[in-house]
């Protein structure tokens, strides 16, 4: 009897443990968190970048919020700000610049493992230094940032990932680095999902406490306030008041339904779309851009990795194969290819070293002069045109679009610069590595 009970207890315990692991510690990629990182980081960078002219007005000791008054708003020693420890103006300026640089590094994923903590400390410091400026968006940003700090972000869609892939490709251009997945990434994704679900739930509960929300008038009152006054919309609402009632109840239904229905496979896409629609509406109609953007980025944690995988596969199919043919004997060319391929997260570019594997489409004589890109219809694009084609079609290289697509100027300067680099590639290689210089091979 006792043995049976013990076995049943042990089996229950094991089943419970398995369920716990399945909820929290399923190995997952960091991609949804990386999207949240880029989004939250960009919003914070823009937000505090715009605050630069008001650094001393908002957070200094001499203008609107003297230090002793700011301290009156704080409740206990746990509400800390680095600004309380500054005394000279240059310290404010230096910290602000350092913080903005860290925000930029956080967005691009450079040295993510430590800059994320600076971003968190900075954000909380600005917030606690002057709590009268703070509103919901600052708290949401802090909550999401903290989870991102705990998470192993920077393992995808980041310069850190680019550097790791590049290091592998430096040794062998064909080498691939498997995408990162881990149980802790799964746990942090789950924490962010719970954070968003809790936020929606309490937001909904607080609303149904108010008479305006029960009566279906809340939307009308929101748009008649001086802060969110919207004349064209009020004109429409005044004539079609049922829109106000529907909008008011829809907001509550979405907020209450979200924490319950977002977990199911079948309902998640609809709830996610509804929540994003709600926040896009807030951004456009109420001007709450920062708040809405941060909220939408938190909701990115609900993106299923398989959705992102399908999206990547669809993009790859749409664009078609691209084969880059390079000179494997030229160190500079190999290094450049390693850089380029490191940004190709979807693996869209195939490579061919014409020295060991001649191309049936482009002759060796042509390849001596420039790198070529061969497309599925056998079109071959040389040098600058090859790069120009690729940067528009490889998402990891989209940041280069402004350089390659400035009307007239890009081609005017791009082609000569490429041709010069191509003809001096051996010299550039020797210059880089300190090897004896040789005549250019172009």
């Amino acid at each position: 009897m006792l043995a049976t009970l013990a076995r049943a207890g042990r089996e229950s315990f094991v089943a419970l443990g398995r369920a716990w692991s399945q909820i929290w510690f399923q190995p997952r990629p960091t991609t949804p968190l990386e999207i949240a990182r880029i989004g939250v980081g960009s919003a914070i960078l823009f937000h505090y970048g715009m605050a630069t002219p008001f650094l001393f007005v908002f957070w200094g000791d001499t203008d609107w919020m003297p230090r002793d008054v700011a301290l009156m708003y704080l409740d206990g020693p746990w509400m800390q700000s680095v600004f309380f420890y500054f005394s000279a103006p240059w310290q404010w300026i230096a910290f602000h610049i350092f913080f903005l640089l860290c925000c930029a590094a956080f967005v691009v994923g450079w040295r993510t493992s430590w800059v994320k903590w600076i971003v968190l400390v900075g954000h909380i410091s600005y917030d606690y230094r002057n709590l009268t400026l703070s509103y919901g968006a600052e708290s949401i940003a802090a909550c999401l940032l903290f989870i991102l700090c705990l998470a192993p972000v920077g393992r995808a869609m980041s310069l850190d990932r680019v550097r790791a892939v590049r290091a592998a490709k430096r040794a062998n251009l064909e080498a691939t680095l498997p995408p990162y997945t881990g149980p802790w990434a799964g746990a942090c994704t789950r924490l962010m999902q719970i954070q968003m679900a809790v936020l929606f739930l309490y937001s909904g509960i607080e609303k149904i406490r108010g008479d305006e929300w029960w009566s279906g008038d809340a939307l009308w009152w929101a748009f008649t306030t001086t802060e969110f006054y919207h004349d064209p919309l009020l004109a429409l609402f005044a004539q079609q008041y049922w829109l106000v009632t529907v909008g008011t109840y829809a907001s509550i239904v979405i907020e209450i339904a979200f924490p319950f229905l977002i977990w199911q496979r079948a309902t998640r896409p609809y709830l996610l779309a509804a929540a994003i629609f709600l926040h896009v509406s807030f951004a456009v109609l109420l001007g709450l851009v920062y708040f809405s953007f941060i909220m939408s980025m938190g909701q990115m944690s609900f993106l299923r990795p398989e959705w992102l995988h399908s999206l990547g596969a669809w993009w790859k199919r749409k664009i078609g194969d691209m084969e880059m043919i390079y000179d494997g004997r030229c160190g500079f060319c190999v290094r450049s290819m390693a850089w380029l391929l490191a940004f190709d997260g979807l693996g869209q570019i195939k490579i061919r070293d014409f020295r060991t594997n001649p191309s049936p489409v482009v002759s060796d004589a042509q390849l001596e002069k420039a790198l070529y890109l061969v497309l599925p219809d056998s079109r071959a694009l040389p040098g600058f045109e090859a790069y120009r084609y690729v940067v528009l079609r490889v998402p990891g290289l989209w940041w280069q679009i402004p350089f390659f697509y400035v009307p007239v100027l890009s081609r005017l300067f791009g082609r000569p610069v490429y041709n010069w680099v191509a003809t001096h590639r051996s010299w550039l290689f020797s210059f880089r590595w300190g090897a004896p210089r040789s005549a250019s091979s172009g």
């Binding site: 919901g136 903290f146 309490y202 008479d211 306030t225 004539q239």
Partner: protein, 183 residues
């Protein structure tokens, strides 16, 4: 159990404890029930340190009826000039919410911040040779669709209550600056 297995087990337990702790903190933070309040004693330092202590009450429980901040400057010749600083802001930029939050701070605590803002606004309007400044809160009242259809605005005099928050002398410096400019 090998040392590697033990390390893995300890890491698993530590991660489990942390996610349980953080989840509880997220759920407790906006909860105002008495049970949650008693548990906050343990969680408060954690919630405060990482800025997680919030209610998530957006547009709730009430969505409307705000106040508009205005100030009136009386110049050296006794003329009054009314300003609505919120109107000068761009809705889609962060500055909009920062400045509006500041104006709400004056509305809420005119005695604490009145003098700071008197100095600020008098300096900003130094060209008017300001002598005194008066802060006003224009409190919104009921405004229904019928009112809008009659061509009215929520800030028309019949729909608002004007509350004088504070009157202050402009600091001498803002007047002197103008005098210097005039010369």
């Amino acid at each position: 159990m090998t040392a590697k297995q033990l390390r893995k087990y300890i890491a698993y337990v530590a991660m489990s404890l942390f996610v349980a702790w953080h989840t509880l903190a997220m759920v407790l933070a906006p909860n105002s029930s008495s049970m949650a309040q008693s548990a906050r004693v343990v969680f408060q330092p954690y919630l405060s340190l990482f800025r997680m202590d919030t209610t998530w009450a957006f547009f709730a429980p009430s969505a409307g009826k705000h106040s508009q901040f205005r100030y009136v400057i009386t110049d050296s010749e006794g003329r009054e000039h009314t300003f609505v600083p919120g109107r000068e802001l761009n809705w889609y930029l962060p500055t909009d919410i920062w400045f509006k939050n500041w104006y709400y701070t004056i509305i809420e605590f005119p005695e604490s911040f009145g003098d700071i803002f008197a100095a600020w606004f008098c300096r900003e309007r130094a060209d008017l040779k300001p002598v005194t400044i008066t802060f006003l809160a224009i409190q919104e009242q009921d405004f229904w669709p019928e009112d809008h259809l009659r061509g009215k605005h929520p800030l028309d005099p019949e729909y608002v209550v004007v509350d004088t928050l504070k009157q202050a002398e402009c600091p001498r410096s803002s007047q002197t600056e103008t005098a210097t400019d005039d010369r």
